[in-house]
C-alpha cells in the first residue's frame, strides 16, 4: 500500500506544536511505516508538493497576508486540512495583539522597547502585511479537523493521524485528546 503523504507548515507560531510532533519519539518510526512527511518548516523541503498530499497540517495563527497565502496553498494541496494548536484554532497567544491593535503592537515592538535604538517598523514589500485582527486558520480557509492545545501533546497528534489513516472521519476528539488549556 502506498504511504500516505503528510505536509506540515507554520504560520504565526512559536514552533512548539512542531516540537510536540517531534516528541512522538519512537512512535515516529512506527508512523513512518505508513506515512511520508513530504515537507515541513523543519526539513529541507519547505513547501507541500504541487501534486498534493492527503493530510496538511497547519500550526500558528493568521497574523499577516503571508500567513493567508501559506494557508490557502496548504488548503489547495491537501485533502484533509488539520489546524493544530491553540493559535491555529483560536488565534492563541498571537491574538493577544488584538487587545491593543496592530499599530500599537508594531510601535511597541519596533520603536519603543527598552533596547531599541533608531527603531524602524519594517515595511519591505517582500514582507507580509500585518492584519488588523489575528484569527485562527478557520477564518481564512475551510478546516477539516481542529486539534487545540498549547501545544497538543504528542499522543494527540498520534491519535489524529491514526484516525485519518484509518479513514474514521469526520473526527470528533474524545475528551482525553481535547485540551485547550
Amino acid at each position: 500500500m502506498a504511504k500516505v503523504l503528510i505536509a506540515t507548515d507554520w504560520l504565526a507560531a512559536c514552533a512548539g506544536c512542531h516540537m510536540s510532533l517531534l516528541d512522538l519519539d519512537e512512535r515516529l518510526v512506527e508512523l513512518l511505516n505508513h506515512v511520508t512527511f513530504t515537507s515541513s518548516p523543519v526539513t529541507d523541503l519547505k513547501h507541500p508538493p504541487e501534486s498534493g498530499v492527503t493530510v496538511g497540517v497547519l500550526t500558528g495563527a493568521i497574523s499577516n497576508t503571508h500567513n493567508i497565502e501559506v494557508a490557502r496553498r496548504m488548503r489547495a494541496r491537501s485533502t484533509y486540512l488539520v489546524a493544530v494548536g491553540d493559535c491555529a484554532t483560536f488565534g492563541g497567544i498571537v491574538a493577544a495583539r488584538n487587545l491593543v491593535g496592530t499599530p500599537a503592537a508594531l510601535k511597541r515592538a519596533y520603536l519603543e522597547t527598552e533596547s531599541t535604538v533608531d527603531g524602524l517598523i519594517p515595511d519591505s514589500p517582500e514582507l507580509g502585511m500585518p492584519l488588523p485582527t489575528v484569527t485562527g486558520v478557520g477564518d481564512v480557509v475551510k478546516v477539516d479537523i481542529f486539534l487545540p492545545g498549547c501545544p497538543p501533546r504528542p499522543e494527540d497528534f498520534f491519535y489524529v493521524f491514526s484516525e485519518v489513516l484509518a479513514g474514521r472521519l469526520p473526527l470528533v476528539l474524545p475528551s482525553q485528546h481535547f485540551r485547550y488549556d
Binding site: 489546524a83 484554532t89 492563541g92 497567544i93 491574538a95 477564518d139 485540551r179 485547550y180 488549556d181
Partner: protein
C-alpha cells in the same frame, strides 16, 4: 404532598410539584449542564446553558427555573437541545477574552468544562477584541471583567447570601458590566471583602490574589476544618497544593455558616506574619536557648507540681480544642488545684441563658433583638445572617451603649436603660430571637428573663471554645501578680496577651505554650511550641453550643505539637490519666 410523575429522556421520574426540572433531574441522577446556576443561590435562568426540550412547549426552556408539571415529558440531550447549547456557548465564548491558556481558572472553569463537553474546538464567531478593565483595588481579590460571562452569581451571592448588595450589573446587552455600588472601584465600595463572590464565580473573573496562578484548580486537595478567628466556628475548606495552603474556600454544607465566610476567616487568617516558635525554648542567663521536648516537659511538670495551689496560675486562650481544655481542667483544676484559672477573654460573665437558640434560627425569625453585641466587628458572619433576615422582612431592634454598623439596619435602637421597651417588642413578636454579647449587664439579663420562654437566645461569646472553657471552670479570676508559677497557653492569641508580660511578678516562673513569638514568650522562662489551627485536629463547641470538628490540613511545623498533644504528655509526666477528657457541656433545657 402528592408526588407527580414526569418523564426525563424516557425515564420515569417521580417528583414533587413546585420543583424545577433541574431539581427533579438532579434528584434522579440525570445530569443537566448549568453555568449561572449555583446550589446556594436562587436560580434566574440567565445563561441558557440548561435549556431542555419540554414536549408541548413552543421553545426550549431553562431547566433551572421551569417548574415541573404532571406527565411532563423532557429531553435533556436531544439534537435540538445540544445544538442550542452549543450555540449559547459559542456566543458566550465570542464575548470578551476567554482564552483558557492564560487563565487562573483553567482546569476548574465551568465555562471551559462546558466548552469541552460540547466540543467547542474553534471560534465560530469573529474574535471579540474589546479590552475590559481589571479591578484589582480590593485587598484580597480582583475582578477581571475580560473573563466575566455576566452570570450574576456574584451579584446574587453579595445580595442574597451576604446581604451586602455591593455588586450589581450596569448597562444592558453587550454593554452590560459588573459594577460595585454606583460604579466605583471595588476597593472604594461598600464591599466588606468577604470573598463569597470569588467563591461562586464559575470562570476566572473573580479570583483570589494570594493564590492566583499558583496551582491548577484540578490539581488541588481540600481539607474541611473550622475557622477559629471568632466564636462562630464557621466551616471552611483549606485548599492545598503539594502541602502548601493556597486559600480558604466556602464549605457550602457547613452547619454554622452554610458557606459564608468573612474577610478575616477567608483571607486574613492566612496572613499571619508573626515569627513561629518552632522548638522548646528555655531561658538561660537571660537568653532563650533551644531545649529538647523531654527536658522541657519534665521541667514544666516539676515546676507546676512543686508550686502551691494558691500561687499556681493558669491562663488559657479560648481558641484551644476541647480536648486540650479538658486536659487543662484535669491537670490544673482537678489535680494541681490551681487557685488562679483565667482565659484570654478576660473574666467573662457567666452566660445567663442556656444556649437554646441556634444561629440558624435567625433566618426564620420576625424580630431580632441584639443586646450589647457588635457582630459586624466581632462575628461578621453573624451580622450577615442578621442582615439577610432583615432583607427577608425581620425587624432588627438593638440595645447598645454606642451605635454599631448594624444600628443603621435597626428599626429601633435603645440605650441599655431602656431595655424594658425592647423586651415589650419581643413579647409582641411571633418568632423572636435575642442575640446577646458579653456586654450584657445584670439588670439587662434580668429584664430579658421575661421573654426567656418565648424567644430563642443566642449568645455571642468571644472565643471559638469559650463555651467549653466556661463549662470546665477555666474562666475564673486570674491575677498574674499573685502567682509565682504561671502556665499560659497563648496559642494563636494576637495582641490580647501582650500587656500581660508587664503585670507578671518578676520573680515568677513563666511557662508559655504558644504558636508565635510575642512579648509574653520573651518574658517566658520556658516556651513550648504549639501547632496552629491549620496543623491540629480537635473538637470545639461554638457560641451557640454546636459541636464542631476541626481537621488538620498540615503537619505541625518544626517541633511544634498540637495543643492536646502537649498537655497529654504533660499529664502523663504528672502521672495522670491522659485519655481525652470530655467537656461537660450545658444542654438545652437542662
Amino acid at each position: 404532598m402528592s408526588s407527580i410523575a414526569i418523564t426525563i429522556n424516557g425515564q420515569k421520574v417521580s417528583t414533587q410539584p413546585g420543583q424545577t426540572i433541574l431539581q427533579a433531574a438532579q434528584a434522579s441522577g440525570i445530569d443537566i449542564p448549568t453555568l449561572c446556576h449555583h446550589p446556594a443561590l436562587a436560580p434566574i435562568g440567565a445563561c441558557r446553558v440548561c435549556l431542555v426540550e419540554v414536549t408541548g412547549q413552543r421553545t426550549l426552556q431553562p431547566a433551572c427555573t421551569f417548574p415541573v408539571a404532571d406527565r411532563m415529558e423532557i429531553q435533556t440531550e436531544s439534537p435540538k437541545v445540544v445544538r442550542a447549547r452549543k450555540f449559547v456557548l459559542e456566543l458566550l465564548f465570542s464575548e470578551r477574552n476567554h482564552f483558557c491558556m492564560a487563565c487562573e481558572m483553567s482546569g476548574g472553569c465551568e465555562l471551559q468544562n462546558l466548552g469541552y463537553r460540547y466540543g467547542l474546538d474553534h471560534w465560530v464567531y469573529p474574535t471579540y477584541t474589546q479590552r475590559f478593565p481589571v479591578d484589582a483595588s480590593p485587598a484580597h481579590h480582583l475582578m477581571d471583567h475580560n473573563r466575566c460571562v455576566l452570570c450574576r452569581r456574584c451579584v446574587r451571592a453579595c445580595g442574597e447570601l451576604v446581604a451586602n448588595h455591593t455588586l450589581d450589573l450596569r448597562q444592558r446587552g453587550a454593554h452590560a458590566m459588573l459594577c460595585a455600588d454606583m460604579d466605583v472601584p471595588l476597593g472604594d465600595s461598600s464591599c466588606v471583602g468577604c470573598g463569597t463572590c470569588v467563591n461562586v464565580c464559575p470562570t476566572g473573573a473573580l479570583i483570589d490574589k494570594r493564590s492566583a496562578f499558583m496551582a491548577r484548580p484540578d490539581a488541588v486537595d481540600r481539607v474541611e476544618t473550622i475557622c477559629t478567628q471568632c466564636s462562630l466556628g464557621c466551616g471552611l475548606n483549606v485548599v492545598m497544593h503539594r502541602g502548601h495552603v493556597l486559600r480558604l474556600e466556602s464549605s457550602w454544607n457547613a452547619p454554622v455558616n452554610g458557606g459564608l465566610l468573612c474577610r478575616r476567616g477567608r483571607f486574613e487568617a492566612l496572613e499571619d506574619r508573626r515569627t513561629r516558635i518552632l522548638e522548646p525554648l528555655i531561658k538561660e542567663k537571660g537568653r532563650s536557648v533551644p531545649a529538647s521536648w523531654t527536658w522541657a516537659l519534665a521541667e514544666t511538670a516539676r515546676r507546676v507540681f512543686n508550686e502551691v495551689p494558691e500561687q499556681l496560675g493558669l491562663l488559657t486562650s479560648t481558641r484551644l480544642t476541647s480536648e486540650a481544655l479538658g486536659l487543662l481542667q484535669t491537670i490544673f483544676a482537678k489535680h494541681l488545684r490551681s487557685a488562679q484559672r483565667g482565659t484570654a477573654d478576660g473574666q467573662t460573665p457567666a452566660l445567663p441563658f442556656t444556649p437554646c437558640g441556634k444561629l440558624a434560627d435567625i433566618a426564620g425569625s420576625d424580630l431580632i433583638l441584639l443586646v450589647a453585641a457588635d457582630p459586624v466587628q466581632d462575628q461578621p458572619v453573624a451580622s450577615f445572617l442578621i442582615k439577610r433576615a432583615v432583607d427577608q422582612g425581620a425587624r432588627l431592634v438593638t440595645v447598645e451603649s454606642r451605635p454599631t454598623e448594624l444600628s443603621a439596619f435597626a428599626e429601633a435602637t435603645f440605650k441599655p436603660r431602656d431595655v424594658g421597651i425592647a423586651v415589650e417588642l419581643v413579647m409582641a413578636a411571633a418568632r423572636p430571637v435575642v442575640i446577646y454579647g458579653g456586654g450584657l449587664t445584670k439588670s439587662g439579663a434580668k429584664a430579658l428573663q421575661k421573654v426567656e420562654s418565648k424567644a430563642k437566645f443566642i449568645p455571642l461569646v468571644p472565643g471559638v471554645n469559650t463555651v467549653t472553657a466556661a463549662a470546665l471552670g477555666l474562666n475564673g479570676r486570674f491575677d498574674p501578680a499573685a502567682c509565682s508559677t504561671l502556665y499560659i497557653v497563648a496559642g494563636e492569641e494576637n495582641g490580647t496577651l501582650d500587656d500581660l508580660a508587664a503585670r507578671i511578678n518578676p520573680t515568677a516562673f513563666v511557662i508559655v505554650q504558644a504558636c508565635y513569638a510575642s512579648p509574653l514568650t520573651e518574658r517566658a522562662d520556658l516556651v513550648l511550641p504549639m501547632a496552629t489551627w491549620l496543623e491540629r485536629s480537635g473538637s470545639f463547641t461554638n457560641t451557640d453550643g454546636t459541636q464542631l470538628r476541626a481537621h488538620a490540613a498540615l503537619p505541625p511545623s518544626g517541633q511544634s505539637r498540637p495543643d492536646w498533644d502537649i498537655l497529654g504528655r504533660l499529664a502523663e509526666r504528672l502521672g495522670l490519666d491522659a485519655g481525652p477528657a470530655k467537656a461537660e457541656l450545658p444542654r438545652c433545657g437542662a
